[in-house]
């Protein structure tokens, strides 16, 4: 009974997500879960995003393969949904843009020939939500990010590893958070 705990859905802003490129597995078992470590030390196996879907395009050749772009106040996430994400693909196919959407998904990384790492999200689910849910997400994500920035000086293994690998500038990320909050404030 001690064995199974569901992976937490982390709250990450688009900018931080885009600046992440360290993915690894816990353990050497082929079924060990895959993680993405972000510059502020979030160890992400599942991500929860609420933002605005501003673009969508079916880029598949023979079967449907949807690419969507979801923005938050700091940047945008790329979402890819194909035949193995039928629910998300269906919503993408049917919805209008722009729309507020809640996405639960897995982070995935792709390394280009030039060696750049691109991050994207493979959605488990994608649903239309209201503006208030989106605003609350920005608040919650700001809170989670600030907590992680504070933890960077702590002794948690994720923070240690993030510091070692990214050498993150705490100011850079706290000004990202403050920018997000200020842009939200303007709408009120």
């Amino acid at each position: 009974m001690a064995g199974y705990t569901r992976e937490v859905a982390r709250r990450i802003f688009a900018q931080e997500f885009r600046e992440s490129n360290l993915s690894f597995k816990d353990g050497d078992d082929q079924y060990a879960p895959q993680y993405l470590l972000t510059p502020t030390g979030a160890k992400v196996n599942r991500i929860f995003i609420v933002g605005t879907l501003i673009e969508k395009e079916d880029i598949g050749t023979d079967s449907e393969y949807w690419r969507g772009r979801v923005t938050d106040p700091t940047g945008s996430f790329l979402i890819y949904a194909g035949q193995y994400q039928p629910e998300a693909a269906q919503v993408l196919a049917e919805c209008e843009t722009p729309a507020f959407v809640a996405v639960v998904g897995k982070p995935s990384t792709y390394t280009t020939n030039e060696g750049d790492v691109l991050t994207s999200v493979r959605p488990e689910s994608l649903h239309i939500v209201d503006g208030q849910t989106r605003d609350m997400w920005v608040i919650e994500t700001a809170k989670c990010t600030l907590d992680r920035i504070k933890e960077l000086d702590g002794s948690s293994p994720n923070a240690q590893r993030a510091k070692e690998y990214y050498d993150p500038d705490a100011k850079h990320y706290s000004s990202m958070v403050s920018q997000a909050l200020k842009s939200l404030k303007e709408t009120y």
């Binding site: 009974m1 001690a2 064995g3 199974y4 705990t5 569901r6 992976e7 937490v8 859905a9 982390r10 709250r11 050497d28 078992d29 929860f48 609420v50 959407v101 809640a102 639960v104 488990e124 689910s125 649903h127 239309i128 939500v129 208030q132 849910t133 605003d135 609350m136 997400w137 608040i139 919650e140 700001a142 809170k143 989670c144 600030l146 920035i149 504070k150 100011k171 706290s174 000004s175 958070v177 403050s178 909050l181 200020k182 939200l184 404030k185 009120y188």
Partner: protein, 435 residues
């Protein structure tokens, strides 16, 4: 063949340190004989022994389902039992073990000539759920070393009932004492061995939390709103949640001078603020907690369901697993995953609460289901309406094989003053920069 695997045995012996070469070689041989690929076999052996070599637990931290743990304690009592396992008579030894942090019962599968009072360290033991508590198991695959007698408290000391705050009571406590406030209380008649008995049930509180209680003896004076000191109450565990039981052996005393106590009726009945879900995941169960987060998934089994009219179980295709073909009653429920960024729990909502968050009555849902061809209409609609929503829920949590569940007693959309949140957070960033 042997020469080929010798370097791998060396490598494993190095990596595992305290495990003998012979043992590793024997394990590896066995796996290879069964045609397990070498790399996979090595990985398995590493995983098996690494978990054994480092995992010291104290009694209060035991939870069901641990493997390869190391634990020290004193045998408080031990008896020999004969059981039949798959038709074969076998002698096992069971008793209780304590270490100053708590007491647990154990079963030893083999005769290891243990006596009451022995102070021992057990390597490679495991735990399973037995009588609603984590039970310690060990046998000839475990290593037992004897400790100095003075390394552990005496048996009498350990079985003594400890003065504790409600929030700190764990399954390892068998007897407890505490100072609490009675916040709820009612009488209930139950059948006990064919006899009608009146028991008193209710809820106790202090500044660390609330717990349910049952009194098997008349309480006499104390009533709702009274502060009491009790000693020697027994702790029972149901779904990981402790409950306090007053028996003949419990002494209860009403407290008149309450000015020194750090809690009042007012402070304990205030709706508790939300706790981070990660705190729920650490415990076997929590009584009356509030959490808030986003619904990130609606699980199958949500929507309209059918129940057996006799036992209230959910039926599959009008067939109950203990009453067969039955005339089912329709019900509605929601099983959701609530995630707050620190952890995730299964949130279970009954019909009334489901109607409130879903915004449609069961009657509406039934109409919707009838006018469509698919049986999943309501479930699909729930997903659409609820996924992503930010809600708060209050109820009891408990751990099961799928993680932690919270059965909600109430659920609501938290009042969110976005502007205030923004100001608070900006201020936090501001002060952070000044440092």
């Amino acid at each position: 063949m042997d020469e080929k695997i010798a370097p791998h045995i060396d490598e494993l012996t190095m990596a595992l340190g305290n495990i003998s070469r012979e043992e590793i070689s024997r394990e590896l041989d066995k796996l290879l004989k069964y045609r397990v690929p070498l790399d996979e076999a090595k990985r398995m052996i590493k995983a098996k022994y690494l978990s054994v070599s480092s995992n010291t637990v104290s009694v209060k931290d035991l939870s069901p389902g641990l493997n390869g743990i190391e634990i020290s304690g004193r045998i408080i009592d031990i008896v020999e039992k004969t059981v039949s396992i798959q038709g074969e008579q076998k002698t096992i030894f069971s008793g209780t073990l304590g270490d100053g942090t708590g007491i647990c019962s154990f079963t030893c599968w083999d005769d290891m000539s243990l006596k009451p009072g022995d102070a021992i360290r057990i390597k490679n033991a495991y735990t399973r759920l037995w009588n609603n508590r984590p039970e310690l198991y060990f046998g000839k695959r475990s290593t037992i070393t004897y400790l100095q007698d003075n390394e552990l408290p005496e048996s009498e000391e350990m079985s003594h009932s400890n003065l504790k705050k409600l929030g700190n009571i764990v399954p390892a406590d068998v007897l407890v004492s505490s100072v609490v406030l009675i916040v709820e209380m009612y009488h209930r008649e139950i059948m006990l061995k064919g006899e009608k008995v009146t028991v008193v049930e209710g809820v106790l509180a202090d500044e660390t939390g609330k717990l349910p209680f049952t009194s098997w003896v008349p309480l006499g004076g104390p009533d709702i709103g009274d502060y009491i000191r009790f000693e020697g109450a027994s702790v029972r565990i149901f779904r990981g949640l402790p409950s306090i039981n007053f028996t003949d052996a419990t002494s209860i005393e009403k407290i008149s001078d309450t000015s020194e106590l750090p809690f009042t009726m007012e402070s304990v009945s205030r709706a508790s603020s939300s706790v981070a879900i990660e705190n729920l995941l650490e415990k076997e169960g929590m009584f009356d907690v509030t959490v808030s987060g986003n619904i990130i998934s609606i699980r199958s089994g949500s929507g309209l369901i059918e129940r057996c009219p006799q036992c209230n179980r959910v039926t599959q295709k009008s067939s109950c697993r203990s009453h067969g073909e039955v005339e089912c009653l329709t019900d509605m429920r929601i099983k959701a995953i609530l995630d707050d960024g620190t952890g995730a729990v299964h949130l279970i909502l009954n019909r009334e609460l489901s109607e409130a968050v879903y915004g449609k009555s069961m009657h509406d849902a039934e109409k919707m289901a009838q006018s469509s061809l698919s049986g999943d209409t309501v479930f699909e609609d729930m997903k659409k309406v609820l996924t992503g929503k930010y809600i708060a829920a209050r109820g009891n949590s408990s751990r099961n094989e799928f993680g932690v569940s919270l059965v909600a007693r109430s659920v609501w959309v938290p009042e969110n003053d976005v502007e205030k949140h923004i100001e608070d957070l900006l201020e936090r960033i501001g002060t952070g920069c000044d440092e």
